[in-house]
Symmetry: C2
Subunit: 373 residues, 2 copies
């Protein structure tokens, strides 16, 4: 056995709530709980004490009863596995209150073991040949429609110049529109519209599925000519998304959906919005990250959304910048506010608002496209 | 396409916080958000309105500003997939505050599509030939030890009559103890001790791993003679655990670990302890559910632990009762309290406390076994 380490350490920033004395104790506890999970006084092995224990690198009060602590861990604790990396960062301490991750920093050699997003902002823009404008997106829905009804919607969206059409995240393989039939038919519909308009609309089927069907569904989507895939990593596990993003044979863009991720963003535990929906999604290979926009029917604030977009594009090892894709209550009236907030590198995701505009869905897509540019 | 439903509906109980008027609106919102995710007034299709929309079945105030609402969903919305079932229960609304799941009820035909635990309490007891006593368990740790050090520990545990020895959940495939080498060597050590003592100690390696390695690690464990596996479903996705539990060729007991699951239990969102660590774990195939005991270094209360054990054994479709496995700060002095609380159907998980007792680990195991019986 090799009892040595490279000396490379990754650093996790935790926000701790409470009295200073307690926060200091929590910081020390994280160093132990997340690594050896063992009474430290019983560990005589100096190699373990010096290398495996987490290490408090800095500790500071950021506001009253709120502390920011950087803790570093030997990269070897993670075994270069995303599952184990998440486990070291937040496995057991997820069960303790008042601990929230706000940042992740990786040393260069370690970071290289994660490919990150295959396309990112530039790659998705290249596919769409859309280099200097926001992109627009919508979803085929509602659940309960038939395959031909969904294909009809997809055709109208594509005819109106939608950049990306995704499955609603609630479409899996219900009998009303079984996965293969839906994906095959919708791919054809989008392709037909593209041929007619000369457009490049992409269709992203939802591959959030049982463990043993995720890969098959992804490859089936590719065979049918899909432009990418949608996946909810909180339902499938983050590493399922990473696995697909890393797969050179697959090679399509990946859009992450936030279904089931909410408790990790609840404020007192989990992650900050930027750390989870920005950095973690990049680390796990998403090219596009869907999340609920501020001011809509969800509860994200404008600051939380800013945190997400900042972390979609900030310097983070070699990982490409990715597209924020705000949705959830977007409509024609709040586009001016969104334009000034998001700038160019954004994919607007409009669902219900697009249908509400008028009965002519294709015209509504055209109008949306004109307005956002 | 088949535009019909069976009429069978599963029911989810949500606890909603806030004013009555708001809670009623949230209940109605759940019916829409979790199914069609579309402005309901725009849906003209009566089939969808009548069958796909969720349905509020009951609504009552359980304490001041706390409401209990039963919402039913057509079983077809879930496509009989665990991922999509979780998505319908809590996908998008996980991103809204103050919604917590406290119960799940499945109609019979739908429930039959989920196998649940393969062994449960009786099955695990049969394997161990231990029918009328609590079981005892410990973990090989800390991370940073070598394979031969872990094998030495496993041998001592088994020699002392430990029922189940699990990997620490932080052991994946770090270079200090690579997975295959560790599992192979520890299986041999446990087997050797069993031959010597006539005991039946089982070793459960940790198969929480990258997406494409989970199954290989599980089968490798089986080949080596492991007695079961440990998996953290919040890291791998719940369906990875279910997939293994369902696999007749694999067929070993499954122990779930709560790493990374904490935010789902944080009180204002997610699930109650019993709904998640009891019912959901049974639905997803766990035979044994590890969780932090009350009074230890974690924050679970005695009532939350009672909720878990109640939901490990309550009537729940055809799903077998499973073993609660409290750990995290257990020691010799709190065993009397635990004995009166847990009764017979429990697996005590003692880690650090076992090492602290004396330098003779085998003797400590024997003492633990005598005390708990």
């Amino acid at each position: 056995m090799i009892k040595s380490v490279s000396g490379e350490r990754f650093t996790v920033t935790y926000i701790l709530s409470g009295e200073k004395e307690d926060a200091l104790a929590v910081a020390e506890d994280i160093c132990i709980e997340q690594t050896v999970e063992f009474p430290p006084e019983l560990i005589k092995d100096n190699f373990i004490r010096e290398n495996i224990f987490g290490r408090v690198e800095s500790f500071s009060e950021i506001e009253e009863k709120k502390f920011c602590v950087d803790i570093s861990f030997a990269v070897e604790t993670s075994a270069s596995e995303l599952t184990q990396f998440l486990n070291v960062m937040f496995g057991n301490i997820s069960l303790k209150p008042g601990i929230r991750i706000s940042d992740i920093k990786l040393p260069p050699q370690f970071a290289k073991q994660f490919k990150g997003p295959r396309y990112g902002v530039d790659g998705v823009r290249n596919i769409l040949d859309a280099h200097n404008r926001p992109l627009i997106s919508s979803a085929i829905k509602p659940m309960g429609m038939s395959v031909s009804e969904f294909a009809g919607l997809a055709y109208k969206f594509a005819s109106g110049g939608m950049d990306i059409i995704k499955d609603d995240h609630g479409l899996s393989s219900q009998k009303f529109s079984p996965y293969k039939k839906r994906v095959n038919t919708c791919c054809d519909a989008v392709n037909e519209a593209n041929v007619k308009t000369g457009g490049k609309t992409l269709y992203f089927p939802n591959i959030t599925a049982p463990f043993d069907e995720i890969i098959d569904r992804a490859y089936y989507a590719k065979e049918c000519g899909a432009g990418g895939v949608l996946i909810a990593p909180a339902l499938t596990g983050f590493d399922a998304m990473k696995h697909l993003a890393d797969d050179d044979n697959f090679g399509l863009p990946v859009m992450s959906h936030p279904a089931f991720i909410g408790p990790f963003l609840s404020g007192t535990t989990g992650f900050t919005h930027g750390a989870l929906l920005g950095k973690m999604m990049r680390l796990a290979g998403a090219d596009i990250v869907v999340y609920p926009n501020f001011g809509g029917r969800f509860s994200f604030s404008i600051d939380e959304c800013r945190d997400i977009i900042d972390n979609c594009k900030c310097g983070f090892s070699h990982f490409k910048s990715i597209f924020p894709c705000p949705g959830g209550g977007m409509n024609f009236s709040n586009i001016p506010e969104m334009k000034s907030f998001y700038g160019n590198d954004v994919i607007y995701l409009m669902g219900g608002g697009l249908f509400k505009r008028s009965d002519d869905l294709t015209a509504n897509c055209r109008e949306l496209r004109e307005i956002v540019i």
